[in-house]
């Protein structure tokens, strides 16, 4: 510091009041605090970066799964092809087994102006259309046989490869032999897109269809219903059992070695790898109790076992957090133990219990390993009507799609992850809302 001229009075004043400053390490303390804050910021930034990477990667790969390319063309339901002998009145099987792909192929060839005699060209025209067209047109005809002989506009699913090409996911610079769509097909695709016949539509099938080896027809329907069943089973079983167990352990059970042992074991159970629960479920529910394999019921039971420790631990923590003065107040008024718990302690612990439950449910929703063991990793095409029917679950569906080779399954895998994440976000928002609703200060 430079010397500043001061009046003698000020100098005297300063000299009289300021003792020598002690070095109490202020500079060092503040520096270490600043460093710690920087570490914290860095940690958060790191976490956010990875979150951003995860989300951007999933969303950028997956958003196209919500669009599905369809070809809308006038389809002539030719009696010649479907039922050339006129037997449909007597033999309903005719309509079930008719050659619908040919109907669709002919319709598309007509729109594209392809000579029906050119067999190679016709094969490529057929390759533009999803194989699921057989089911689509069959259902249409069986529902209303009067369409036979008429021409109706139908939105047909494009083949997965055309779908991928239309979304720009197939590199057209690659040699024609080495890619799944030919130059001719790409030409037709552009031609159809120009007339508006070929366009992307919202992919409702993603949410309603079951498993399919054809990506354009594969959907999460079975997995959604299976996961829903399992979540309901987990909620209905684990919430009451878990809360009842924690209330007993926390409020009524004597504190002795035995209850200590139980507590230690519950904590250990929460850390048991989930695949072990899968084996347990396989042994107990499928082999011993004889419940059907692949059923959402068994999956729900296994996930219940897995979720119970989480709920018990969360509930006990919530009960412990209720101030003892509230218990003393109720007991002092002559409330019985049970009245104290149910009238005062439980309502105050509710936010914590609900948060724990929803976190447990969210955990269960994303659990895959135990479901693989009880056979929920199966090709299930029909939406399960009851929890006893074969089903899959969302994370298992993701696992199965991730194993598929087709390009169109890549985006569906990411799409399914997005759906799963949305469900998890919804559950967490629900947890926050419930907590707000029940939160009371004391």
């Amino acid at each position: 510091m430079s010397q500043v001229t001061t009046s003698p009075a000020t100098a005297a004043f300063k000299a009289s009041v300021r003792p020598e400053r002690r070095d109490i390490g202020l500079r060092r303390r503040y520096a270490s605090e600043r460093r710690f804050r920087l570490y914290g910021l860095a940690a958060i930034a790191f976490g956010l970066l990875f979150l951003f990477l995860l989300l951007s990667s999933v969303v950028s790969k997956g958003y196209t799964a919500f669009l599905q390319t369809k070809i809308t063309i006038p389809v002539e339901f030719s009696e010649q092809v479907i039922d050339k002998d006129g037997e449909r009145a007597t033999d309903p099987k005719v309509l079930m087994t008719a050659n619908y792909p040919v109907v669709a192929r002919n319709a598309l060839a007509k729109v594209l102006g392809v000579d029906p005699g050119d067999r190679a060209a016709m094969r490529e025209v057929g390759g533009m259309i999803s194989d699921s067209v057989r089911v689509q047109l069959r259902d249409l005809v069986v529902a209303d046989p009067s369409v036979i002989g008429r021409t109706v506009d139908v939105a047909i699913l494009a083949h997965g490869n055309v779908d991928s090409a239309y979304k720009g996911q197939i590199d057209l610079g690659v040699d024609e032999k080495n890619r799944k769509v030919s130059d001719r097909q790409v030409g037709w695709m552009n031609q159809l897109a120009e007339t508006g016949a070929l366009a992307g539509h919202f992919n409702t099938g993603l949410f309603t269809n079951g498993a399919s080896s054809r990506p354009e027809a594969a959907g999460l329907g079975v997995a959604l219903v299976g996961s829903l069943y399992m979540m309901l089973i987990v909620l209905v079983l684990s919430l009451p059992i878990g809360v009842a167990a924690s209330i007993y352990l926390e409020e009524f059970a004597p504190k002795n070695r035995f209850t200590d042992l139980i507590e230690v074991n519950i904590n250990n159970l929460a850390a048991v790898p989930s695949i072990v629960y899968g084996l347990l479920g396989l042994a107990v529910f499928v082999n011993f109790a004889g419940f059907p394999r692949s059923a959402a019921l068994v999956g729900g039971l296994v996930l219940t076992l897995m979720t119970l420790p989480t709920i018990i631990i969360a509930t006990r923590a919530a009960l412990k957090a209720v101030p003892p003065s509230i218990r003393a107040a109720a007991l002092g008024l002559g409330a019985s133990n049970m009245q104290t718990v149910f009238h005062h302690v439980l309502p105050l612990a509710m936010p914590g219990i609900l948060t724990g439950t929803i976190i447990g449910l969210a955990h269960a929703l994303g659990e895959t390993a135990p479901l693989l063991l009880i056979g929920m990793v199966a090709f299930v095409a029909d939406v399960p009507a009851t929890p006893l029917d074969p089903a899959t679950a969302l994370p298992v569906q993701i696992y199965m799609w991730a194993n598929e080779a087709e390009r169109a399954f890549v985006e569906r895998t990411s799409g399914a992850i997005i759906v799963l994440l949305i469900f998890l976000i919804l559950m967490n928002v629900g947890a926050i809302l419930l907590r707000r609703r029940f939160e009371r200060r004391w």
Binding site: S325, A330, G332, L333, G334, H343, H344, R441
Partner: protein, 271 residues
Amino acid sequence: MNILSEAAVEKALDKKMNDVSYKMIGQDVSVYYGDKRALYDVNLNVRENTVTALIGPSGCGKSTFLRTLNRMNDTIDGCRVTGRIALDGDDIYDPSIDVVELRARVGMVFQKPNPFPKSIYENVAYGPRIHGLARTRAEMDAIVEKSLQRAGLWNEVKDRLQESGTGLSGGQQQRLCIARAVAVSPEVILMDEPCSALDPIATARVEELIHELRANFTIVIVTHSMQQAARVSQRTAMFHLGQLVEENDTDKIFTNPDDQRTQDYIMGRFG
């Protein structure tokens, strides 16, 4: 129900003949927390419609004794009570005595105001409701109003009975807790340092209240404040290191105590 030893009853009757009636009798009361002994053979009787103050330095066992009177110690793990405590001659630790019924007869007000996080009305109505003291809504309204009036809180809260009890000031909360205890019409009210968390004005208000309640209830109050004990109580018991040093009329204790330790304590030499 178990009756106390004949000697004790005789003693009690003896006192009664001397125009003193005992609401609660404590005989050779010892309390253990696990291996630690907190009270040593305390013999202390509580007179009816009297305010009995328990004084003594921290950790002397006065709160422990208070809590044996309505068996609040039962809720503490490892706590064991020996000796006998009687309410109107019935041993309250007898297995045939229901602790819920006991606590309906011996109410308690705690050190820290602890209203339920519910409305003011619900705070007061809770006790009568679980004990079935009111058959109709109107009866319940009457109990709530009377209790709040007795606690001197009615005029302050009558227009906001549905607001949360935790939103009141500290002194109001403590009076709400007193109203809550009064609402179940107990015979004895135990107060564990009821004013330690209150400011002087709220304390004065609660002390007045204790005076008024004395007409209808027997009150036992633990306090750290000598002045408070002198102001509110008629009888005072001095505890030290888990033992009852002496028990006598408040005036006597504060002017001419028999025991040197009491003298030292009220003179502020220790504690």
